[in-house]
């Protein structure tokens, strides 16, 4: 009697893990929305820059240019956030519901399904927050006017600090895990190619 009560209770509370599915759905939906936002931004940037050649005044061109660079960086930042949201959704699903079997042999799975633990999820969120903050700093800096040498000095101090924080976030994630490579397979491939060439010689 007691055993079956325990069993029922345990299987009941174990069902609570299905609630993670809401997080998976919401995170994927938010990812799609962020892709949309970044795409709209990109559309407006392109639209605004189409008449760049017809701007004859140097100063006007300079301000348009600074603005454009800011928006382009912002667009890229938006896409990054969207990708992180996608990785987040897949990671939650793989960690707490079940592994995604169909994706196992896909080429992109090394990078899309790269979440190993809850800490990993958290650190990814942290890193993307740092990136957005840095982009924010960049945007503010690009539209600011500097009046004297002290301003310039302070600006360089700010740049060093941002560089330091970038270093810290990278270092934190890179210290215990293998270094992030864009495509580890390519390295193996080039290695094999080189060996083949040596053999034919």
């Amino acid at each position: 009697m007691r055993k079956s009560l325990e069993h029922n209770f345990e299987s009941a509370i174990w069902q609570a893990r299905w609630s993670v599915l809401t997080a998976v759905f919401c995170s994927s939906a938010a990812a799609l929305a962020m892709f949309y936002v970044a795409a709209v931004d990109a559309f407006y940037v392109v639209k605004r820059l189409l008449n760049y050649a017809s701007l004859t005044d140097v100063y006007e061109r300079m301000s348009v240019r600074a603005n454009a660079i800011g928006s382009v960086v912002e667009v890229v930042d938006g896409f990054l956030l969207a990708i992180v949201l996608l990785i987040f959704a897949f990671g939650l699903y793989e960690l707490y519901v079940s592994k995604i079997d169909t994706a196992y042999d896909e080429e992109a799975s090394t990078h899309m399904l790269a979440i190993d633990s809850l800490d990993d999820l958290k650190s990814r969120l942290g890193k993307v927050i740092m990136m957005i903050l840095i982009v924010k700093f960049f945007e503010l800096a690009i539209s600011m006017s500097f009046e004297n040498v002290y301003d310039l000095l302070m600006f360089s101090g700010g740049i060093v600090l941002v560089g330091g924080s970038l270093f810290l976030t990278e270092f934190a994630s890179g210290h215990h895990t293998p270094k992030i490579k864009t495509d580890p397979d390519r390295e193996v491939w080039t290695e094999e190619k080189r060996r083949q060439m040596m053999e034919t010689e």
């Binding site: 345990e10 509370i13 174990w14 609570a16 893990r17 609630s19 993670v20 809401t22 997080a23 919401c26 995170s27 939906a29 938010a30 929305a33 962020m34 949309y36 936002v37 709209v40 931004d41 407006y44 605004r48 956030l81 793989e94 960690l95 707490y96 519901v97 079940s98 196992y104 799975s109 090394t110 399904l113 190993d116 633990s117 809850l118 800490d119 958290k122 650190s123 969120l125 942290g126 993307v128 927050i129 740092m130 840095i134 924010k136 700093f137 503010l140 500097f146 302070m154 600006f155 101090g157 600090l161 941002v162 924080s165 970038l166 810290l168 934190a172 994630s173 210290h175 215990h176 895990t177």
Partner: protein, 203 residues
């Protein structure tokens, strides 16, 4: 020699030991708060999506769009943070149950058990809570900084100092949290398979 135990002592110890069932309250409450947090974050997501889909493309004015965008990004990060909190509450509930009541026998071999049932002691519970609180604080900082107005180079520099401090605390938390050999998902499987393939090739 057998130590004699008086009837009174036995009764007292027995009733004292029954107190541990009160932990069940914590388990159930923790699971319910987890469900509610999932619900809250889902509602947040719905409103962010609604805002983005109805307003964003129509807003042709660049400055207005920028403001809208900042708000959207802030909310999205907040949503993710809410989901993280909910998952931690779920792990917390299961952890308390396993530590103080009984092992969960059924799901032991389940795929997700590695990650949902991995609290090892009380310190582990505390560390988890600490880390999630830190993350929420960082998100709070992020939200405030996104909506703040900055004027002049001095404020810009102060902003950079604040970013540096956040990076430092993030670094410290990360450094404390990461242990090697925690790999347990597909990516680690893949790595293991690659390594075994390499070994076969070497032979």
């Amino acid at each position: 020699m057998k130590i004699k135990q008086s009837k009174l002592e036995y009764l007292f110890e027995h009733s004292l030991w029954q107190l541990r069932w009160s932990v069940l309250i914590a388990v159930i409450a923790s699971l319910f708060t987890a469900l509610i947090m999932f619900y809250v974050a889902a509602v947040d997501t719905f409103y962010v999506l609604e805002m983005i889909t109805t307003e964003y493309a129509q807003e042709a004015n660049m400055l207005d769009r920028k403001e809208l965008r900042g708000a959207a990004v802030g909310h999205v990060v907040e949503v993710i943070d809410g989901f993280l909190l909910a998952v931690v509450l779920l792990i917390f509930g299961y952890g308390i149950y396993e530590l103080y009541i009984s092992r969960m026998d059924g799901p032991e071999n389940h795929e997700a058990a590695d990650h949902l049932l991995k609290v090892e002691n009380l310190d582990d519970l505390k560390a988890r809570l600490g880390k999630v609180v830190l993350m929420i604080l960082i998100v709070k900082f992020f939200e405030i900084s996104m909506t703040m107005e900055y004027e002049g180079v001095k404020e810009l520099t102060i902003f950079a100092v604040a970013i540096g401090l956040i990076a430092l605390s993030f670094f410290m938390a990360e450094y404390a949290a990461r242990k090697s050999g925690q790999l347990k998902t597909r990516s680690s499987d893949r790595q293991r398979r690659k390594e075994s393939l390499k070994e076969i090739n070497n032979d």
